[in-house]
Each structure stands twice: as structure tokens, then as C-alpha cells.
């Protein structure tokens, strides 16, 4: 399975405050409303520019800061297919897996805003079509892939009623 879309490029240390600012705290009960403000403080035009199926591509430590699960949620609801970064902050990482938002840890150095890319989850490979190069990434551990494939931890537990093993 390969996903194709455009790159929206961000820098290092994109915090959850930049992904979804605390001033929208009151909208947390309404995720689709909240999703209209995704990445607003990092790039005010992001929502206007992005198309469903596009990718967020960032540097180190993406998603640092607060534990708000709303951060991966608004990214997912806004229609972002996956987030690619050199590294992810710990809580954001597990939140994203838990809600079924794919994360890809790889060298994002040579990706530029607007690049057309193709992500092949099974092969662990990102192809930059615009610039004609490939980068490999390491697959998630099997247990986490299972959660992701189930559509998130909620779906996983709904089905199994418990963790396995």
C-alpha cells in the first residue's frame, strides 16, 4: 500500500502548542471545529494550503510539550495521511499510534515544501517524486503495528476487550 501526497514542511521542536494552541482549549469538546486551527501558530495558512492525503514533514522532536491527544487528533481529522519527522516526542508518538495516525521516523532533511512524495508502509520506504530520491525507515514493532492496523488502541480494545499477552 502506497500513499501519495504533498509535503508541508516544518522545522524542529514543533510543540503541541504550535499544533493546536491552548487558547482553543474551549473547543476541545469539538474535534472537527478544533481541527480548523491545526498547525495555526506554526503556519497560519496550513489549513488553506493542505489537501486531504498530504503529509506533514518535520525535523527533530515533533509533538513535544503537552500530552494533549487533541494534537494528533486534529492532524488526523484535518486529513493529513501521516507525519514524517527525524524524531518524535514520546507522548505524541504513543498518542498518534493510539489514535491510528501513522508516524514515520526517517531522515527528512532533503524534503522541501510542496514536494510530491509516496510512502510505502509495507516496504518501509519514502520516495520523493519531485526530487527523485528514496529514504528508508524502520517499521514499528509488531504490537504497535497491530494497534495502528486496528485503527487505534480504542478499536483494538473494543475488539479484544483486553491487551493480548
Amino acid at each position: 500500500m502506497a500513499w501519495r501526497g504533498k509535503v508541508h514542511k516544518f522545522g524542529d521542536n514543533i510543540s503541541t502548542d504550535l499544533i493546536i494552541p491552548g487558547r482553543y482549549f474551549h473547543l476541545r469538546g469539538n474535534l472537527s471545529e478544533l481541527a480548523k486551527h491545526v498547525m495555526e501558530d506554526a503556519d497560519p495558512d496550513f489549513v488553506k494550503k493542505m489537501r486531504k492525503g498530504d503529509f506533514i514533514v518535520a525535523g527533530e522532536n515533533f509533538g513535544c510539550g503537552s500530552s494533549r491527544e487533541h494534537a494528533p487528533w486534529v492532524i488526523k481529522i484535518a486529513g493529513v495521511r501521516a507525519v514524517l519527522a527525524k524524531s518524535f516526542a514520546r507522548i505524541f508518538f504513543r498518542n498518534a499510534i493510539n489514535i491510528g495516525l501513522p508516524l514515520i521516523e526517517c531522515d527528512t532533511e532533503n524534503f522541501k515544501e510542496g514536494d510530491e512524495i509516496e510512502v510505502d508502509i509495507e516496504r518501509g520506504e519514502v520516495r520523493n517524486i519531485t526530487r527523485d530520491f528514496k529514504v528508508a525507515f524502520t517499521q514499528l514493532p509488531p504490537f504497535l503495528r497491530e494497534i495502528l492496523n486496528a485503527g487505534g488502541l480504542k478499536e483494538y480494545i473494543r475488539r479484544k476487550k483486553d491487551f493480548e499477552g
Binding site: 502548542d17 487558547r23 469538546g29 489514535i99 491487551f163
Partner: protein, 414 residues
Amino acid sequence: MGKTLTEKILSQKIQEEVEIGRIYIFPVDWVFAQDGTGPLAIKVFEELGISLLSSPSRTLFFLDHASPPPRSELANSHHLIRKFGEKFGAKIYEEGEGICHQLMVENHASPGEIIVGADSHTCTSGALTAFATGMGSTDIAVAMALGKVWMKVPPSIKIILKNSLNNRVMAKDLILHIIGALGANGATYRVLEFAGEGLKALNMDDRFTIANMCVEAGAKTGLFPADEVTKEFLEKMGRGEKYIYLFPDENAVYEREIIMDLSEIEPMVALPHSVDNVRKVKEVKGLKVDQVFIGTCTGGRLSDFKIACEILKGKKVKSRLIIGPASRRVFLEGMKEGVWEILVEAGGVIIPPGCGPCVGIHQGVLADGEVCVSSANRNFRGRMGNPQGLIYLASPATCAATALTGYLTDPREV
């Protein structure tokens, strides 16, 4: 092979030698959410199709972030959480009782426990030798339903402390120094374990401040061994029987060891907009400051306000000063010791126990271009409600000295 504190706590919990890097399912002792993350946790819980909490008396909700609520949506969140508490028997900490992390250490966290909270600074309880870590609402919903979480066992970085801090240099300066040295992701997926003879000189308030901010270096948690200081604190809080002696093995294996001489630490400040953008206060002196905030789960405890009193007694502030006690207990203790009188006479504004302006919902939102020096733990752009605001993080002593002069000031100079 010897075990780190992390390996000891986690192995003991599942009666199996855990292996670093492997994923296990762990039982949890406490699970909690606050008013910002709670509603989503409740929603996910209700969708799980599991009709009871695994342990109602060990499921806690804190109404602390927007408290009392400044707008109807937030009041509705509080209402929803209260109703959930009534229906399922979870414990609700009402408005004005204080910040979740402070209430966890005052009332719940004990050595050897596993604690998960839907708030990133859950690691504060690591100061009491609990493996405490922040998670998202889905993890928390599942932990509420099953009493379990999945976790990958992290490696540890050992931070060996030597000597003691100088006068007017605080635990906050130490942890800012450490974060500056490690970087905002220098400890990602790792635990910071504190050790060394310097521990003796750090009281419980100091340790809370340090453990609280470990997540700012990306750490899963920060852990202190359970020693005499821990024991005394637990006794004071009325749960002395929960004390167990808990130290890492002498021959434990760490990913890295870092030695810190406490006597060499100076007052530090984190500049906008990242916590690892750290300088010595004396290098940034003279910055004009509009607002000072002393409070939060990092810097809103009694010892923080006492040092502010020492600096501000009988004087008047030159910048706005907001004072936020971390809990009702801190508020009451401070009342008995007369700290509020001193701070209010100096020009301070006291807000109710809770998060206050820390996360930009109310009670001290910054105007465009304004500078705030805060004893909190985060200075990300927009954090205090305005992306045009500039947040500098410093110790309560530096905050008080700054309020006094109206300029970023080294507390050793006033």
C-alpha cells in the same frame, strides 16, 4: 546484572525481569486526567464498551486547568467530569483544590508505584520514586477500564549530584541547566535518574520541581531514590506506611552518566520560545519585564513563595506580579506563615490554587509583545494565550527579584 530504579520498579510490578527496549503490559496504581484531557478520556472510555472502571478509588479527575471556568464550554467540561465521577465512582478534585501533580504528591503517589496521567507533567511524582508518566486520553481511558497500559521499557541516564546549591540558587536553576545541556530532546524515550550525595541537600519541593521538568528534555519520567527525605515527606502527608527503601543497584547499567556540581550552578533563564534555550541570568540582565508569574506545578509551592517573601518583604514591585499557589494545602500553609500578606503588600495579585495563566486560558494572558518571567515549565510560543507574548522561565527567586526591579534580575543582587 544490577538494576536501575526504572528496571526495579517495572520488574517488580510484573514479577518478571524487564528488558530495556521491549514492550510490556503493566498494571497501574493510579490513573488520572484533568479538565482539559478528561472529557476526551471519558468519551473514549464510553466507546470502549467496558462498563466499569477497573478501580474507581484509584481513578482521579482534577478540575485545575480552567478553574473556576472562564467560559461556558469549559464549565460544561467540568460538569461532564462531575457527572462521570458520580456515575462511576471516580474521585473528583474540585475547583480550587489545586493542580493535579501537586495533589498527586500530597495525597497519592508513593514509592514503587506506576502512575499514568493525562498530563505531561505527571512525571512530578517521580520525585517520590513512583514510575509516573504522562499519556494521552486514549491510553488513560484504557487504563481506567483495564487498569493496564502498554509501555516500552526505557533506558536511564544517571545524573550524579555533588555538593549543594548556593544561596538563592534553586532547584529550578539546576533543572534548567540540565535541560540546556541535554537539549529539548536529549532524553527522549529515556528516564533521568538522580543520584549522588548532593541529593541530601535537595528537599522534597526541590525534587518535585526537578522531576516535573524532566519531560522538557523529552524524558519519559525523572526518578529520585526513596530516602530519608522521602520518608519524612510521606509521614508529614499522613502516609508514612507507604514508605519503602528504594534505590538502584550499585552495579546498575546506565546509558550515560552525567556529573553535576550543584555549587557551580547559577541562576538560569530559558528564553523564548523553547525550554532548552537556556542562559545564565547575568548574561541576559536588563530585559524589561511586564509581568511576573510565580506559581504552577513547577514553582508554586511554599518554599517558592517563602523565597519570594524574603526578596519582596516591605518593598513594592515594578512589574505586575501574579501569585498562584499550587494547591489548597500550599495556600493554607502560606496563610499560616503570613506569606500572602507580604506578597500582596508588595503589589502581588493572588489567584486561586490551579494552573492559572500557565496554559493561556485565563488569569494573566499576555498582550502583544509583552514579556513575562515565569516560574512555570514551558515557554512555547502562544503558551500564555498569545503567540505575540514572550515567556522567560526562571526560578521563583529570579522571578521575585525581577518583579522588584522591573527588569530581569539575578536574585543574588537584590
